[in-house]
Symmetry: C2
Subunit: 261 residues, 2 copies
């Protein structure tokens, strides 16, 4: 792998900021807030930030960079694709529980659902994430999908996956903003009590984690060697994502290629 | 240009969502809020969203995709670089005025500055944006910078520029959330008055504009023809952004190459 030291630094930084984000959100709800429960009250709401940070941010980020880990390049690509899909499915499961928790809390407290920009963009992101998983499974895990389709759709899969990941971090930052304004009354958010500073740092950690993951995944020279070849075919011979790669790919046996795309 | 129809659709969509964002933010402050003034009050604060949407989002987005417009490919690259830099400088000027407006409003109303996550990430983004402009001018507009440095730093310049643009849209969404919660009292934000729905749509427009700009700028086949060659050199021969392109580039006369990087 090229510039292995830089990769290792980025990987460690992602692991540290990602783990710290989970620790920070746990300390927030367990130490500063009402803890965790499933009783329709604030302690049920608290599952929302915890599961979103752990699932839709940390697990999704891990799923995104898993193909970049050079220690896995000797593994069968099909196995890596299953691990990638399972991490996304686990993230989606936590997201569903997290969403139920917040609706349940709102309904109990007679707070309207879906009024804020956070909720509009959040629900759109969850629906698009679900769609991305379904399309990903159909195209890349079901063995009958033509290799030409897989290759043609790959840049779109990667682009929308990365965009969704970044969008979800933005939605989380809006959620943090909402919660701090609503929850901090005396002293208020504007008086910067320790909880406000602590949760602001959580927001900074999420941004740092997101930036490192996106940097790692968009650096072409850190792709799996086979994927670098595919990127070069897309970029130089037929344009990056034009859907015209079929004829080129089908000159090789589908069965040989399918495992690698 | 490859897939010109798709490019044209993306370009029109960016122009429409970007222009609509400016119209929406103007209607917000002029129709729903206190208008625009420079008096230390709410009307002075209103310059903040207007100038940020017009400058740091619309003008920055335009500066980012300007190299992708095929109608400009016949123009001298040096001229395009000056237009790119001037758009960024204009965006930065509006940003400074916008930031002064919000500090002025806070100071007059005795509201603390820099307590929210929006302000932390916002000020960090403005500082990094300033740094990005300074480094960009030094590297790409001062004619003595070695071509090898320009080529080596280009992927970093593009990555951080795009990341900053996305980050700034996130910060704007947090700002919208804050303002709607603070400003809407009776009826409250949670009661979804017309202003709340209207400004939520503004948030959706900003996300759509950001997504289209990022899609346009990351599609390698839509780069200027010379830049596609550079991308291919980076990707296939020496890795995308490893800083080792010097010897390869210096085989060509610096004076010939400099205009193109």
């Amino acid at each position: 792998m090229e510039n292995y030291r830089l990769f290792l630094s980025a990987f460690c930084a992602a692991a540290i900021t990602g783990s710290l984000s989970i620790i920070f959100v746990l300390i927030w709800v367990l130490h500063y807030r009402e803890g965790l429960a499933w009783d329709g009250g604030s302690a049920e709401f608290n599952w929302h930030p915890v599961l979103m940070v752990a699932g839709l941010i940390f697990l999704q980020g891990t799923a995104i960079i898993i193909f970049r880990l050079p220690w896995t390049w000797a593994c069968n690509k099909q196995v890596m694709k299953w691990i990638h899909a399972c991490l996304h499915l686990l993230a989606f499961t936590l997201t569903v529980i997290s969403t139920v928790a917040v609706f349940d809390f709102h309904n109990t407290a007679k707070i309207p659902n879906m009024y804020s920009l956070h909720s509009w963009l959040g629900i759109a992101a969850v629906i698009l994430y679900c769609l991305q998983i379904v399309v990903g499974v159909v195209l890349y895990l079901i063995p009958i999908t033509p290799v030409s389709w897989r290759a043609a759709f790959m840049p779109v899969h990667v682009f929308f996956g990365t965009l969704l990941f970044v969008g979800i971090i933005s939605v989380a930052l809006m959620g943090i903003t909402e919660k701090l304004i609503f929850a901090l009354k005396s002293p208020k958010y504007s008086q910067s009590p320790p909880e406000a500073l602590f949760v602001n740092v959580l927001g900074v950690l999420l941004v740092a984690f997101g930036a490192i993951v996106v940097y790692t995944v968009t650096r072409v020279s850190w792709k799996r060697p086979n994927d670098q070849v595919l990127h070069s075919l897309h970029t130089d011979e037929v344009g990056e994502d034009n859907g015209k790669v079929g004829p080129k790919k089908t000159t090789t046996q589908d069965s040989e290629m399918r495992g690698n795309i």
